[in-house]
């Protein structure tokens, strides 16, 4: 049970978001969110980014409109999301029901020495998403609220934005394949079938 004011642990959050994930498609932003989804279990239905900071939300969006019958969950960090705030406006205008964006907000640039991000000074990502037009946009502080986001993501009642406040802990890395060609090919083979290998 959560003690009030106790910050969530990022891998508990990700494990819950991905619980019984079925055919959920997952895009993770570079750095710790990549290691987090990999710690929860590497999968061909994961696309963990190793670079291209700022790409995660729009990549999830392009995937979501290409695959309207699948649910897409983007898991990224506050620094990565801050780099592409305009994407929240673009996505809100398009209003994709099958897309959820969960930002693991430790208020730090975790890979580069834990420098504070803008959210540490109070920048309200969920408020920005609301103002952009996301009808569901929340700040999440408890595991019960994480479960609600998980259920919304799995049901496809989106678009959903969640800013999950987490502990700024540095954990061991769990690395997925780093070869982008492998990540692309295995993802497409899983989603589109073996035919995708022939073009």
């Amino acid at each position: 049970m959560n003690v009030p004011n106790e910050l969530l642990h990022r891998r508990d959050v990700v494990n819950e978001l991905l619980r019984d994930r079925s055919d959920l498609l997952v895009v993770a932003g570079l750095g710790a969110p990549n290691w987090d989804i990999s710690a929860a279990g590497d999968s061909p239905n994961n696309f963990p980014l190793w670079g291209a900071m700022g790409a995660a939300a729009m990549m999830g969006f392009g995937l979501a409109i290409a695959q309207p019958k699948r649910r897409v969950l983007v898991i990224t960090g506050d620094g990565e999301m801050l780099m592409s705030l305009g994407a929240l406006a673009t996505i809100a205008v398009q209003n994709p029901p099958n897309l959820t964006i969960a930002v693991l907000d430790n208020e730090r640039f975790g890979e580069t020495g834990m420098q504070k991000t803008h959210t540490a000074a109070g920048v309200d990502l969920a408020g920005i998403a609301t103002a952009a037009g996301f009808r569901t946009s929340r700040i999440v502080r408890t595991m019960a609220e994480v479960t609600e986001i998980r259920d919304l993501a799995h049901r496809g009642n989106g678009p959903v934005f969640a800013q999950v406040k987490i502990n700024p802990e540095a954990l061991y890395f769990v690395l997925p394949p780093a070869d982008g060609g492998i990540l692309s090919t295995r993802f497409r083979q899983s989603v589109l079938g073996d035919g995708s290998l022939y073009n």
Binding site: V27, F47, L49, G51, A52, M53, G54, A55, A56, A57, M58, M59, G60, F61, G62, L63, A64, I65, A66, Q67, R70, S84, G86, A87, A89, T90, V93, Q94, G180, G181, L183, S184, T185, F187, R188, V191, L192, S196, N199
Partner: protein, 185 residues
């Protein structure tokens, strides 16, 4: 007489209609764009197309990421942008390169032939070098009747060999604005 000739309506160029047909043949479904006057006819064609989705971006690199996601989900797309937007894309171009994904960019050029606005020149002159530095295969069309075939070639290259390709549509094709004339009372 010279003034009269300037004010006569010019026949609208139809090369964008040919580009639209080429992109439809390539099965393009997602059209990401930051608008440019040179792309306006092509954008209107896609907006009228129920099988395509036009997505207005706040900045061009959003489109690189979006089309990477599209490819993972089995859809093809195109990014329409002006040369000034190429600079916004630089690091994001890592994504199609390292992930062996197709990317088709149609770039309307500014800052070259006939340019009036000096602020367009630095990025316009740097456009090809920036794209090539990031591994994008660049081809160029400077005659209206060559644009569609150039786009067709770039689309085949991108989608059949899984790499980024850009077509630069020269300012000579688009016609240069004359701001002094526009500013005249």
């Amino acid at each position: 007489m010279a003034d009269l000739q300037k004010k006569e309506p010019v026949a609208l160029p139809t090369w964008p209609d040919d580009v639209y047909r080429v992109l439809k043949e390539a099965d393009v479904r997602q059209v990401g764009m930051v608008p440019d006057a040179g792309h306006s006819r092509l954008i209107r064609a896609f907006e009228a197309d129920p099988q395509a989705r036009v997505i207005t971006l706040t900045t061009e690199e959003e489109g690189i990421a979006m089309l990477a996601g599209a490819w993972l989900g089995g859809e093809r797309g195109v990014l329409l942008l002006q040369s000034s937007g190429v600079g916004n894309c630089i690091n994001m171009l890592s994504l199609p390169m390292i992930c062996r994904m197709p990317l088709l960019m149609l770039v309307t050029m500014r800052g070259e032939w006939g340019e009036f606005n000096p602020w367009q020149v630095p990025m316009g002159q740097g456009t090809r070098a920036v794209l090539e530095a990031m591994g994008v295969i660049v081809t160029r069309a400077d005659e209206p009747h060559l644009v569609a075939s150039t786009v067709s070639g770039a689309a085949n290259l991108a989608f059949n060999t899984w790499r980024p390709a850009a077509v630069l549509i020269g300012q000579r094709v688009l016609g240069a604005k004359n701001f002094k004339e526009l500013a005249r009372k």
